[in-house]
Structures are given as structure tokens and as C-alpha cells.
């Protein structure tokens, strides 16, 4: 009996101790605890050491860990009065909880105009506009600035990189059939036909993944309907003939067997493994996955898909690794804005570039190695079909979801033609 009591007591003691432990820790970081909420604390902040709590993207921890460790060190060296308490604690669930419980960290990761979430947070007064902190945007192109804006006000740090979907190819297989990276659409089709004629599966595509089956159309779209995508942003109608042509091209790749026979049953990972194991000559994949291919011992080349007009297009898509917003509940908005400002700086961007090698959109960043230079070998940045469709969406009509979950699967399974796909799209666009 005494033994059991003892065990219970020990257990209770453990819990109390555990609770006590964490209390102690909280006191070390005054910014995290409620005690810091007194006005005196924030006035004294300029003189005393301020601790900023910052949340990073948990899903991309493996990629962001190294650059952010260095960024935070560099920032703290510059601002000895600010301590960065950086945690990879943010995913959709923890962010939702923090938003609703008013426990947001001082600064946290946001996706800018890529999702409506930042807009909703700005509208609900959860994050603050940063205009008064004068973040220098003169180095950045318009797309990067637009990324941070909600109703004309800046809400996040500026993205220094962008991502697009491109084609990775196996140079050894290309050499075997004396092929070269194609420069025009017709060249591209000829390359594909040569490979098929020689019994090589030209392109690995994961038909079983929501986005893996989507990348081909994102790459094709600028060449076929760039104008229409701009029109969608402006609320103008699309040209049915051009749209049908795009959908037909997407389906033609299936019909002609460019993806191999079983691609519908493969997911993105299977497609990537097929390519890295030399079973296919090419793969549609994003610049963000370059590390995967870089780490293989293969001889891999990269090119942007050539369009029918002979232009090699990249697609718009800001990289959100370094885009952070400041919470309205922050007790140190000035210092948090300082951190966000630093994330937009060349110094921080160069740290990220040296660690990860992304495609810079700001000219003064020194690209990491030849590969990034290869990434930059496109002629023009076209629109992103998903974002263009999203721009035309309203509460009733969701053409971007329809594209992913209805049009592409059906085209891929050869259930509809390009013309039918256009009709389905038009019906959705007509919903008000």
C-alpha cells in the first residue's frame, strides 16, 4: 500500500516539477510571459534586452534550419539589444490556435499574396502594416512588392527569390540519342518523339498526386494563354480557342505516351525515383526540389519549357522562405519590424542563397554556382495558371480547385477532350 502511494506521490511531484521547470524558463524570456505586458516593460525595452519570439515554418524546417540559424546570428550581432527566440513551431493548426487565442509570436511566417490568409489576417487586424518602418523596396521588382501588399499597405518582408516549375533532364540519356536541350516547342516535341521511338519513357509524372499532375500545365500555360491569364486578373473573359489548345496539348502528352504507361498510378515520389534511377529521360519539377537532384551523382541538366512562340517561360511564384509578418499583439513591434526589415535585406538573402541556392529575383544577389545560373536561363516570366484562376475566383466559383480536382484528372484519364474541359471551365467562371 505504501509502495503505491509512493508511486502516486512521485508522479504528482514529477508533474509539479515539470510545470515549475517551464515557469522558470518563461521568466528567462520575459517577452513570452504575461508579466512583460506592463507598460513600463515596453518603455524600458529600448534600453533593456528585448526577446522576440519568431515562428518558422515547421513543414520546411529541414530546408530553413541552416539559413535561419545564420540569419538570426547575424541579426543579433547587429542588434545586441534584441534576442531572437526562433522556433519551428508553426503549421496550419498551431497558427490557427495562436490567431484565435491571441497568442501569436512577435513575428511569424506568412505566404503573402499566394494565399488569401495574409489578407484575412490583415483585415482582422491580426498583423500590422509595416509602412511606417520604411522597409526599402527599391531593389525589388513589382511582383515582389505586390506579394507583400494588402490594400496598398505592406504586411510582410519582401521575397528575394522565386520558384518556378521547369524540366530536369538526364544528360547521359540525351547524349545516347544525340539530343540536346530543346529551344523551341517543336524541338521539344521532336525530342519527345525520338525518345518514345527508342523505347525510353520521356518524362516522369506522378499522375496520382494533386500537384504532381498539375506541374505540366503550369509550365505549358504561359506559352499558350499568357494573355488570357492577364485578362483573368482584370476580370476579362478568356479566349476559348486558345484555352482548348492548351488543354489539348496537356492531353496530347498523355495520348502520345510521353509519360509512360503507368504514370496514373504513380505519385510524385515514385516519379522522382524513376527519374533519379535513370528510368526516364526527364521530369517536370520545381526549382525548389533542385537539392534532390543535386545530391544524386547523376549528370543532370535543366531547362525552362520552350513555348510555341519560341520563348522560354518561367512562371511567376515568389519563394516564401523569408517572408514574415509582425503580429498586432507584439509588445515590441519596432524590434519585430527591424527583424522583418533584415529578412528583406541583401545580407539575409545572400545567406539563404549560399545555403540553399534559390533563384534570385533581385539582381544584386550572387547566385550560388552554375545551377542557379541555369535556372535563370529563361526568356520571360509568365503568369502562374493557378494564381490567375484564383484571381477569377469568388465564393461560388473556384476555377483553380476545379482545374486541380476535376479538369486535369479527367484529361489525364482521357475522359474529356480539350474542348470539353474548356466548357467545364467556362461554366465555373460564369458562376457568380
Amino acid at each position: 500500500m505504501a509502495k503505491r502511494r509512493g508511486a502516486l506521490l512521485a508522479l504528482l511531484a514529477t508533474i509539479v516539477f515539470a510545470a515549475g521547470c517551464s515557469k522558470e524558463k518563461e521568466n528567462v524570456n520575459p517577452a513570452n510571459s504575461d508579466s512583460a505586458s506592463s507598460p513600463a516593460a515596453s518603455i524600458a525595452a529600448s534600453a533593456e534586452k528585448v526577446t522576440l519570439k519568431v515562428w518558422g515554418d515547421l513543414i520546411n524546417q529541414a530546408i530553413a534550419e541552416e539559413p535561419f540559424k545564420k540569419i538570426n546570428e547575424a541579426f543579433m550581432a547587429k542588434h545586441p539589444n534584441i534576442k531572437i527566440d526562433y522556433e519551428f513551431a508553426q503549421n496550419e493548426d498551431s497558427l490557427n490556435v495562436a490567431l484565435q487565442a491571441n497568442t501569436l509570436p512577435d513575428a511569424f511566417f506568412v505566404q503573402g499574396n499566394k494565399s488569401t490568409k495574409m489578407k484575412e489576417m490583415a483585415k482582422a487586424g491580426q498583423i500590422i502594416p509595416l509602412d511606417e518602418y520604411k522597409i526599402d523596396s527599391s531593389r525589388f521588382p513589382e511582383e515582389a512588392i505586390n506579394y507583400t501588399l494588402v490594400d496598398g499597405k505592406m504586411y510582410s518582408s519582401l521575397p528575394s527569390f522565386f520558384d518556378y516549375a521547369m524540366i530536369y533532364y538526364n544528360k547521359d540519356i540525351f547524349a545516347k540519342y544525340s539530343l540536346e536541350a530543346p529551344k523551341t516547342w517543336d524541338d521539344f516535341l521532336k525530342t519527345l518523339d525520338t525518345l518514345v521511338a527508342n523505347g525510353v519513357t520521356p518524362i516522369a509524372v506522378g499522375g496520382n498526386g494533386d500537384f504532381d499532375r498539375y506541374w505540366p500545365i503550369q509550365e505549358m500555360a504561359p506559352a499558350f494563354i499568357n494573355e488570357d491569364m492577364i485578362n483573368l486578373y482584370e476580370g476579362k473573359p478568356i479566349d476559348e480557342a486558345r484555352m482548348t489548345e492548351l488543354f489539348d496539348a496537356y492531353r496530347m502528352f498523355v495520348d502520345k505516351g510521353y509519360y509512360g504507361k503507368d504514370f496514373v498510378a504513380m505519385d510524385g515520389k515514385a516519379a522522382q525515383l524513376a527519374f533519379t534511377n535513370g528510368k526516364t529521360a526527364m521530369i517536370f519539377d520545381g526549382t525548389w526540389n533542385n537539392t534532390i537532384y543535386e545530391q544524386t551523382s547523376l549528370n543532370i541538366g535543366r531547362f525552362a519549357m520552350p513555348g510555341k512562340d519560341g520563348v522560354r517561360y518561367a512562371q511567376e511564384g515568389m519563394n516564401n522562405l523569408t517572408t514574415y509578418a509582425v503580429a498586432a499583439t507584439s509588445k515590441h513591434p519596432k524590434e519585430a519590424a527591424e527583424y522583418v526589415k533584415f529578412l528583406s535585406s541583401l545580407e539575409a538573402a545572400q545567406i539563404v542563397e549560399d545555403a540553399n541556392g534559390h533563384v534570385p529575383i533581385v539582381k544584386d544577389i550572387k547566385p550560388k554556382g552554375e545551377i542557379v545560373a541555369e535556372f535563370s536561363a529563361f526568356d520571360k516570366v509568365g503568369k502562374n495558371i493557378y494564381h490567375a484562376f484564383s484571381a477569377a475566383a469568388n465564393e461560388k466559383s473556384k476555377p483553380q480547385d476545379l482545374l486541380l480536382t476535376e479538369i486535369l484528372p479527367k484529361l489525364m484519364l482521357k475522359k474529356i477532350t480539350g474542348a470539353e474541359a474548356t466548357q467545364i471551365l467556362q461554366q465555373e467562371l460564369a458562376k457568380k
Binding site: I59, N91, E92, D93, N96, L99, Q100, Q111, G112, N113, K114, S115, T116, K117, E120, M121, K123, A124, Q126, G207, N208, G209, D210, F211, D262, V264, A265, M266, D267, K269, A270, L273, A274, N277, K279, G286, G317, N384, Y386, H387, S390, A393, E395, K398, Q400, L404, T405, P409, M412, L413
Partner: protein
């Protein structure tokens, strides 16, 4: 006699009841009330009464997704009850009888539990892939090269594949409960069976199973609940939309898609104006589906106990 002395069960009930009510029931009730609001999880909430329920049951698009997900969930339930549970009972019986190698079985059968679902799916892909999969290499090797397929994603078989992987990894859970239940059966009744000359299998059917009826019923209920709330495998195999044509869509995935839908979208994506409201509505309907079954179960158990 004091109030408590007359009702000794209250002392046993209270600690669990309090902590359970506080940390399990209260949050559920609070969250369920969101189903009466229109809310995107960020901005202000508007009270809309039963509108979300009406929307769910009158929109043909929502209903078709809902019934598809429900059928897929039920398929897991039926397959598990008809195939897996009998196998688990037999396996538990073998280990109970300490057949040769039972210690090895015990560990082997339970170990898949400890590996996280993405890794399980990835390993299965390495086994079943058409290009690099061990299984397909085996087929080629024995001259069945024409049957090489990416088995993991075969269109039309999605749910069966999900079920197979779930069963493989979850086999030990049910088995361990059946084993525990068998261990509770009195030696006397088994010895009586021996003396009657009942064979190995006859003892299982005539002595052990009748004494495990309620455990089996309970496991069936848990299976039902698990099949209604299964998420991981379907999400990893089919993404947030539950595969091509929603062929691996299930109830929990439907809830997730509506409530948090676009969160894992690599392109960002939009949040719907009523994501949390409608998501909670789906969760409440899901709750009712489970609740009705649980009532039935408790009623059945109660009747059995009265019979004994």
C-alpha cells in the same frame, strides 16, 4: 450511512470523470458550437443557426462528396470486421497457446505500430514501385514481367490498398486486446474443455469465443470509430482531395479538406469564407454517425450482461 458510503462508485468515478470532462468533453462541446456559425477561422463569427447543416445536405456537390467518403469509410469497416478481426483472433489464440515461435510473432506483429505513417507508405512504395520496387523485380525474376505495376496507386483499388496497409500496421493492436481477453478466461473452463476431449479449434469456438463476445463487440465498435476517423494513409496516398476522382476520400479527410483545405497547398491557395463553420458541421455529422452506433453497442452489451 453517509452519502458517499452508500454510493462507493462515486469515489472511483470522480477523478476520471472530472479530468475527462474538463479536457475532453468541454473542448468538444465548445468546438461543436462553431457549426452554428459562419466563420473562416480568422475574422469575426456570424451566427447562422442550422444553415451549415442545410448547406451540407442540400448541395448536391457536398452530398456526393459526403456519401463517397462515407462509403469508403464503411468499406474499411466492413473489410476489417470480416477479414482482419477473425485473423487477429486466430493469431491471438496461437500466441495464447504458445505455439512454436510465439515470442517472435508477438514482437513482429506489433512492431509496425511504431513507425510513422509517411515512412510506412514510403517503404511500401520502395517495395511496390514499378521501377525500383522489390516486388516487381521479383515478378520479373520469376518470369511474370508483364504483371509489373506501380501497385500502390492502382486506380480503382485505392481503398483496398489503404486498407491493406492499415491492417498490416494495425494488426497487433486488436490482437493484443484479444490476447489480454483470452488471458482473463478461467483455467477451469478450459480444463473442462480438455476433459471433454474438445480439439484445438473446438476449444476456441465453444469455450473461448463465447466468453469474449463483449470484447469482440467492443473491438467492432472501435473499428467503426477508427474507420470513420482514419486519415493518415488516405492523406498521404491521395493528397487533400483524396486521390483521382476522390477514390481514397474518407470522412476525416473530408472534414480536413473543408476546415483546413488549402493549408498544405504548395501554391498558397485561398481559404474559404466559411471553412471552420462548415468543417465543424461535417465533424458534428461524423460525430452523430459514430454516436448512434455507440448507443447501439452499449445497448447490445447491456443486454448480454443481463443474460449472463
Amino acid at each position: 450511512m453517509s452519502f458517499l458510503a452508500k454510493r462507493p462508485f462515486l469515489l472511483f468515478l470522480l477523478p476520471g470523470f472530472i479530468i475527462y470532462s474538463l479536457f475532453v468533453v468541454y473542448p468538444i462541446v465548445a468546438a461543436a458550437s462553431i457549426s452554428f456559425f459562419r466563420w473562416n477561422g480568422i475574422g469575426p463569427k456570424t451566427f447562422v443557426g442550422l444553415d451549415n447543416y442545410i448547406e451540407l445536405f442540400t448541395s448536391s456537390e457536398m452530398m456526393s462528396q459526403f456519401s463517397n467518403a462515407l462509403l469508403n469509410s464503411l468499406r474499411i469497416f466492413v473489410l476489417t470486421v470480416l477479414i482482419l478481426i477473425p485473423l487477429q483472433i486466430i493469431a491471438a489464440y496461437l500466441i495464447y497457446n504458445q505455439v512454436k515461435g510465439y515470442k517472435f510473432f508477438r514482437v513482429a506483429v506489433f512492431s509496425p505500430q511504431f513507425i510513422s505513417t509517411p515512412v510506412i507508405v514510403f517503404i511500401f512504395m520502395l517495395l511496390l514501385d514499378s521501377n525500383v520496387g522489390v516486388f516487381n523485380k521479383l515478378l520479373e525474376w520469376i518470369g511474370l514481367g508483364e504483371y509489373v505495376r506501380p501497385w500502390l496507386g492502382l486506380p480503382g483499388y485505392g481503398m483496398n490498398i489503404v486498407w491493406l496497409m492499415m491492417s498490416w500496421s494495425g494488426f497487433g493492436v486488436g490482437m493484443i486486446f484479444f490476447l489480454g481477453a483470452m488471458k482473463m478466461i478461467s483455467k477451469e473452463s478450459l480444463e473442462a474443455g480438455y476433459l471433454d476431449g474438445a480439439g484445438f479449434w473446438k476449444r476456441l469456438f465453444s469455450i473461448i469465443l463465447p466468453q469474449m463476445k463483449i470484447t469482440i463487440l467492443n473491438m467492432i465498435l472501435i473499428t467503426y470509430i477508427v474507420s470513420m476517423t482514419v486519415f493518415d494513409f488516405n492523406y498521404i496516398l491521395g493528397g487533400v482531395s483524396g486521390g483521382v476522382d476522390h477514390d481514397v476520400d474518407v470522412m476525416a479527410l473530408l472534414f480536413y479538406r473543408i476546415a483546413f483545405g488549402e493549408s498544405r497547398n504548395p501554391l498558397g491557395g485561398n481559404i474559404s469564407e466559411n471553412s471552420m463553420g462548415l468543417g465543424s458541421t461535417v465533424a458534428c455529422v461524423l460525430f452523430l454517425l459514430i454516436f448512434v452506433m455507440s448507443m447501439l453497442q452499449v445497448w447490445l452489451t447491456y443486454r448480454r450482461r443481463e443474460e449472463v
